[in-house]
Structures are given as structure tokens and as C-alpha cells.
């Protein structure tokens, strides 16, 4: 449990915004020198409001964006220096589940093809093996094998999110970045997807980096929580500690704003 897989040191990502030909570009500090660790097998949540840099941090970890400064050490190696074969291997180990199950699936592809795509690109499996693996994954995420030949539009939001989860699991990843995986879903469906994510984590020994603005969900699912505000980390604590003993003013404000059913 305590083995560290990510060590993030003084990570920075700045964006330049051009204001015009003769004006100095404005610099947006999306992530402004943050440091934290991710332990193997844990669920680490990044919380904060829109624009606080939580999604940018996730993009940097996924190596979709390159940092302006700092290091991301994955199992001791700096991912910003990964190239070629090493990068390919890294990409297999780290997967993502997107927020919107409506726009993250190709509407012209059948479910089988969507889930099988990572296998086709990254492994030498035969067509038959791929189909077997896809059917196995569909079973794992609670989908009926008959749905193999269906298109995404034939499913509800919750079912589509299951397709996205199956696709993320295809290559046996170690880490899954979940970018607001339930915020676009109905409450009752949210519960199903959260249950599924917890079950899968246990079964496949996954590490989740969970991004959310819903603190009730975060409290339920996380081991540790990183609270971000304007590109900085204001608090990083175990879930127990954060909810019973918030220190930063911003965390207190955030916690008091959750509309809960408890008085």
C-alpha cells in the first residue's frame, strides 16, 4: 500500500495568452509548482473548482500536455523524458475515463470495436483473442454480451460510461485517471458506476487518480484528498483528517458549501 508510484515535484504548467501583436502575452499559471505523491493501490482525489488546475494536473500525468517545469517521476523515472518504446509502455499502464460518456465514444463504431481498439493497436492479439477479451471486459463491467454489436447511441449515459470503463481496462492498466466520471450521470446511475469502480479497483488492484468537484462522492471513495485552488495545493490529507479537521480556509469554505442531507 505504501509503495509510491508517482512522485510529483514542483510541477508547473503555464499557458500564454496572446493579447495582440504589440502587447505582452498574458501568462496563466494553471498549475503553479505543486508536489505530491501517489501510492500504489490508493484512490487519490483532486478536488477544487473549475479553473483550479485539477484537470491540467491530470493531463500532465497522462502526458497529454508537457509541463513548463518540475518533474513527474513514475516508478522513479521522469515521464517527461519518455520517448518511443518507453512512452508506449507508459501509455499502456495509465488510462483515463472521461467525464462525458456522450462525446468520448465514436458514434459510428460498435461497442465491440470501441473496447477492442486499444488491444488492436497495442498488442499482437488475433481477432478471435481480442473478441474474447472484449467479451470478458464487458462481463466485468456488467454489460450483456449481446450488446457487442450495438452502437453507443443505443445506450443510456450509465451504460455508455461502462463502455468507457471497459475500454480503459482493456490493456490491464495500473493507474486509471477518472476525470469527473460520474458528474454527468443521474444520481441513481452515479451509485452504480461508483460501485463498479470500487469493485474493479479491488479485483484488479488499480490505483485511481479521481478528479471531482462533488465532495460527497470524494468523501465516499477516496483514501487521500488533494484540495486545489488557483493552481496551488492548499491542503493534502487523508479523507478522515480532511473532513474532521480541515485547516485551510478554502477547504473549510468548500466543505461548508456541500449540500448534504445531514444537519
Amino acid at each position: 500500500m505504501s509503495e509510491i508510484i508517482y512522485e510529483i515535484k514542483d510541477l508547473k504548467k503555464y499557458y500564454e495568452i496572446n493579447l495582440g501583436l504589440f502587447k505582452k502575452p498574458k501568462i496563466i499559471k494553471a498549475v503553479n509548482g505543486i508536489s505530491f505523491n501517489v501510492k500504489k493501490g490508493e484512490i487519490l482525489s483532486l478536488v477544487g473548482e473549475s479553473g483550479c488546475g485539477k484537470s491540467t494536473t491530470a493531463k500532465l500525468i497522462l502526458k497529454i500536455e508537457e509541463p513548463t517545469g518540475g518533474e513527474i517521476l513514475f516508478e522513479g523515472k521522469d515521464i517527461t523524458k519518455f520517448k518511443g518504446h518507453e512512452l508506449e509502455e507508459y501509455r499502456k499502464k495509465v488510462q483515463i475515463i472521461f467525464q462525458y460518456p456522450y462525446s468520448s465514444l465514436n458514434p459510428r463504431w460498435k461497442v465491440g470495436k470501441i473496447i477492442g481498439e486499444p488491444l488492436k493497436l497495442n498488442t499482437n492479439m488475433s481477432k478471435k483473442e481480442i473478441k474474447e477479451r472484449v467479451l470478458y471486459l464487458m462481463e466485468k463491467v456488467g454489460m450483456h454480451p449481446d450488446w457487442y454489436e450495438r452502437y453507443p447511441h443505443q445506450f443510456s449515459g450509465g451504460q455508455r460510461q461502462r463502455i468507457g470503463i471497459a475500454r480503459a481496462l482493456a490493456l490491464n492498466p495500473e493507474i486509471i485517471v477518472c476525470d469527473e466520471p460520474v458528474s454527468a450521470l443521474d444520481v441513481s446511475i452515479q451509485a452504480q458506476v461508483l460501485n463498479l469502480l470500487l469493485d474493479l479497483q479491488e479485483e484488479f488492484n488499480l490505483t485511481y487518480i479521481f478528479i471531482s468537484h462533488d465532495l460527497s462522492v470524494v468523501e465516499h471513495i477516496s483514501d487521500r484528498i488533494v484540495v486545489m485552488y488557483f493552481g496551488d495545493i492548499v491542503e493534502l490529507k487523508s479523507v478522515d483528517n480532511l473532513f474532521t479537521n480541515p485547516e485551510a480556509d478554502y477547504t473549510k469554505k468548500l466543505l461548508s458549501a456541500i449540500p448534504t442531507i445531514k444537519d
Binding site: E49, S50, G157, D186, V187, S188, I189, Q190, A191, Q192, L194, N195, L198, D199, H213, D214, L215, S216, V217, E219, H220, I221, V239, F243, K253, L254, S256, A257, I258, P259, T260, I261, K262
Partner: protein, 286 residues
């Protein structure tokens, strides 16, 4: 009672058949109170509110029923009469503050529009003062400067405040809010909810609040209407719904959200069972 919906049926017709989006729904909205309609997507909660405003478009049709607003049946009014009700007696706030303002007009102009249409006795200067006042009321700083701003310059929370300002400009007797805070951050959501409660206290407005977030319902509702597949399955005061939910669907819905400090961490949550037809249980209307 300010507004009573009686046996409302709104159907949508297509080649595939009839979709009974709202199927025989009745409830009341008392003066100065907040009624919440809770339900999942497709439960008919938004169609119910659009039916009250008579904003149902082809292929939808209000089949039957009555919507009594201060002794008048809104469904019997002519289009011209209905236009006078909308924005003046009943106004509406929509879910997406990003898309429900017109990007080509200034914020002030858009608030002013409601006054131009419904308060013709006011002159230009009086209207300007009223717009500034309503911007102030919804907590926008420097309202005089913000009058001339275009929506793109405002954040989501500020835009939703402007939407509320437009809705409240003519001091309507009823406000329909269709998921007004769903697209906002939690801290901004808390501010907007406070603002709505505040305005209700000051002006005595009745609110019909549509949401799927039970936490929000707990914060603001006096009465709760639970909708499922076009029907009301349970109707009770907010206190009763949360303390003693009776309908199996309401129970399932309440148990499907984790409550910090109550739900054991990482436990598997109860879910609404897709294979159960919750309509087969007797309705719990108190």
C-alpha cells in the same frame, strides 16, 4: 394556493408511438413556499415545468388537465394573454447560464427587456435605475458598470445571477428554476441558493425548483414531489420525505447518494434497480 396543477397530461407523438412524458400529474404550489420536483432524466420533471409555462413545442401536446394560477386556467388563455403571464407573473431560470443569455446584447439590455415589455408605465431612466437595483439585489458588484457588459465577460455564477435578475425584474409571483445550479461549482451553488432563499423572503415569491440533487432539495424545499417515468410516486413535506420516505423508489434514490459521516466509506451504495417497475407500487401522496 398560488398555482395548482390538476391531472396534467403532456404527450409526445412520434412514428414510434406516444411517449407519455407527463402522465396525470397533480400538485399545488402554496404562496411564498418552495416546492421541489425531484427525479432522474426522463422522469418528466422539466416537461412539467415547461407545461406550466406553456412552452411545449411540436410534437409535444398538452393533452388534458388544468393549470390554475390565481383562479385562471393557464391552458385556456390565448397566446397573447399567456405572453403577459410569462416573465411578469411567472418567470423561469434555466439550467445553462452559459447558453441562455443572448451573447450579442449587453446584460443591462437583457434585464431591461422584461421591464420594457411588462412595465410600460416606466420611462427609460426609471427602468435603468430598476435594472441597476436588480443587479445589486442579486449581488453583482459595480452594477452601474456591469450594465453595459456582454455576457462573455461574466463567469458562470455571475451569468446565473443575471438570469435570476432577469427573472426577478418584474417581481413575479412565481419563479420556476430548472436545475439552476447544476452547472455551477459548489461554492457558487451555495451562493445562488442563498440568493434565491433571500429573494423569496424579501418578495414572498413562490419557487418551483427542479433538480436531481437531493442535497439541494434538503437545503431549500418546503414540499417535495418525486417523479418517476411521468408519474408522481411520492409527495410530502421535505421533512417527511427525508425522515420517513415511504415509496420504494424514493427510498432507493435516497440511499444511492453517499452522505459524509453516515454512509460507511467505500461501501457499495444501494442503487435504483432498472429491472423493477416502481410504478407497480402504490403511490405515496401525503
Amino acid at each position: 394556493m398560488l398555482l395548482s396543477v390538476k391531472n396534467l397530461k403532456t404527450y409526445f407523438y412520434s412514428d414510434a408511438g406516444v411517449n407519455k412524458a407527463v402522465d396525470d400529474v397533480s400538485f399545488d404550489i402554496p404562496r411564498g413556499k418552495t416546492v421541489c420536483i425531484v427525479g432522474e432524466s426522463g422522469s418528466g420533471k422539466s416537461i412539467t415545468s415547461l407545461s406550466i409555462m406553456r412552452l411545449i413545442d411540436h410534437p409535444g401536446e398538452i393533452e388534458s388537465g388544468e393549470i390554475i394560477f390565481e383562479d385562471r386556467n393557464l391552458l385556456k388563455l390565448s397566446d397573447a394573454q399567456m405572453r403577459k403571464v410569462r416573465g411578469k407573473d411567472i418567470s423561469m431560470i434555466f439550467q445553462e447560464p452559459m447558453t441562455s443569455l443572448n451573447p450579442s446584447y449587453t446584460v443591462g439590455y437583457q434585464i431591461d427587456e422584461a421591464l420594457r415589455l411588462h412595465q410600460k408605465q416606466l420611462n427609460k431612466k426609471q427602468r435603468f435605475e430598476k435594472v441597476v437595483e436588480s443587479l445589486e439585489l442579486v449581488g453583482i458588484h459595480n452594477p452601474r458598470e456591469k450594465y453595459g457588459e456582454y455576457p462573455f465577460k461574466l463567469s458562470g455564477g455571475q451569468r446565473q445571477r443575471v438570469m435570476i435578475a432577469i427573472a426577478m425584474a418584474c417581481e413575479p409571483k412565481m419563479l420556476i428554476a430548472d436545475e439552476p445550479t447544476t452547472a455551477l461549482d459548489v461554492t457558487i451553488q451555495a451562493q445562488v441558493l442563498d440568493l434565491m432563499k433571500d429573494l423569496q423572503e424579501k418578495k414572498g415569491t413562490s419557487i418551483l425548483f427542479i433538480t436531481h440533487d437531493l442535497g439541494v432539495v434538503y437545503q431549500i424545499a418546503d414540499e417535495v414531489v418525486v417523479m418517476y417515468k411521468g408519474n408522481i410516486v411520492e409527495k410530502a413535506s421535505a421533512e417527511e420525505i427525508f425522515k420517513d420516505p415511504r415509496h420504494p423508489y424514493t427510498k432507493a434514490l435516497l440511499h444511492s447518494i453517499p452522505i459524509p459521516g453516515v454512509t460507511p466509506r467505500k461501501s457499495r451504495l444501494d442503487t435504483v434497480d432498472e429491472n423493477v417497475d416502481y410504478l407497480s407500487f402504490p403511490k405515496e401522496i401525503r
